[in-house]
Symmetry: C2
Subunit: 208 residues, 2 copies
DNA sequence: CGCAAAACATAACACACGTTCTGTACATTC
DNA sequence: GAATGTACAGAACGTGTGTTATGTTTTGCG
């Protein structure tokens, strides 16, 4: 036997390269040759770790999820809960260049999932996780009386996802330069609808 | 000379076929052979009317816009203006199977526009038209005192577009079965924020 | 009619793609 | 230090692609 390299690590290198290719040229530009070159290898190396392009596509998607998950979980634990809602959503909004890159990737996966069942299945898992996270933190905010008790947490989470997705799309398309401030304002307007009067979270402003 | 067929009509036949192919298999499945077969012709016929695939892609996009524009313009003229807002948005929401088909097409064009400059240019025009329409009808509603005067029509239009896009994405992905009723409820909740108190449009409920 | 141009069909072309196959350097185990 | 399987490189293969080139039918006009 002979093994000097970490198998999982190499796979992640290729997955990360795939994400960069998608950011630059879309899923249509995602070829095994392009990914291999981006990673600094040849197709022979890539096929040694992935025996199909579909596997690579899925693994890249899972990498992108893993990259944000840790930060999301940290933001979710913040107290008070209403501030956690703010931080979690702030991580999802395309406020930074990095997040805008992720939005381009997600848009690509959305398109593909509309006719690729395997990708659709993975996307569904991602959304369940995302909705669950929002639902959880909204419920916590309710228990702290920061969100009105008559609000249905599940429906609120779905509405919030729709808002965030809508903002993400417009920013990626560049159809209207929605500034970071405007993104926050749109989110705050939504949050105001949902909040109960006696929330003690006033004056808490986050950085960019 | 010899011409028995309407040139523009034939082009539209191919453009419509392209839309159907995109609906069924995404932009990745949009091949000149597939479109020609879908239209009941061969590639020779297609190239007689379009000398590049990109031209076909753009023309198909313009067809999809034209198909909804007429209905949009009709809905926009409805009075009172607040009801026009409702109808225009209802046309955009993925309430029917037909509209859901269009959403799949638009999603495909979004993805492509993130790395194809020509498609991005066309998409930008579409969005300007769409935002302009919403802005116009919202302003009219303001002049009828159905929307609060302090609302910025442009910003409100952008927020509304984000909401509609977000709903559209979730429905196309099928990540959460947002019913037609829920879609309307989400829109109504948004509209309530924007309305002034003395709007005379209560009790007016549209059909599905 | 005759003929020229339009409206197609069909085939060929060059290329890029995912996949597979073959070859080779190298680290590890005996 | 040979043996052996890993980690790659690089080329080849078959297929599907957009485009182009070459036919064949159809249609209007003098």
């Amino acid at each position: 036997m002979a093994r000097a390299v970490d198998h999982a690590e190499r796979r992640e290198i290729f997955a990360a390269a795939a994400l960069r290719v998608i950011m630059r040229e879309g899923v249509a530009g995602l070829t095994v040759r392009a990914v291999a070159a981006e990673a600094g290898f040849t197709t022979g190396a890539l096929t040694h770790y992935f025996n199909s392009k579909d596997q690579l596509l899925i693994e890249a998607s899972e990498l992108s999820a893993r990259l944000v998950r840790e930060r999301m979980e940290r933001a979710e634990r913040v107290r008070p809960a209403l501030e956690a809602v703010r931080r979690v959503v702030a991580l999802a909004l395309p406020l930074t260049a990095e997040t805008r890159g992720y939005w381009r990737i997600w848009l690509a996966y959305w398109e593909r999932s509309s006719y690729d069942d395997e990708v659709a299945r993975v996307m569904r898992l991602r959304y369940d996780e995302w909705r669950g996270r929002l639902e959880r933190v909204l419920r916590r905010a309710q228990s702290e009386a920061a969100v009105a008790p008559e609000v249905d947490a599940r429906e609120a989470a779905e509405a919030l996802i729709a808002l965030v997705d809508g903002i993400g799309v417009q920013v990626v398309l560049g159809v209207s330069r929605i500034s970071a401030a405007r993104q926050r304002a749109m989110f705050d307007a939504w949050l105001d609808k949902v909040r109960s009067g006696r929330a003690p979270t006033h004056g808490l402003r986050r950085s960019a």
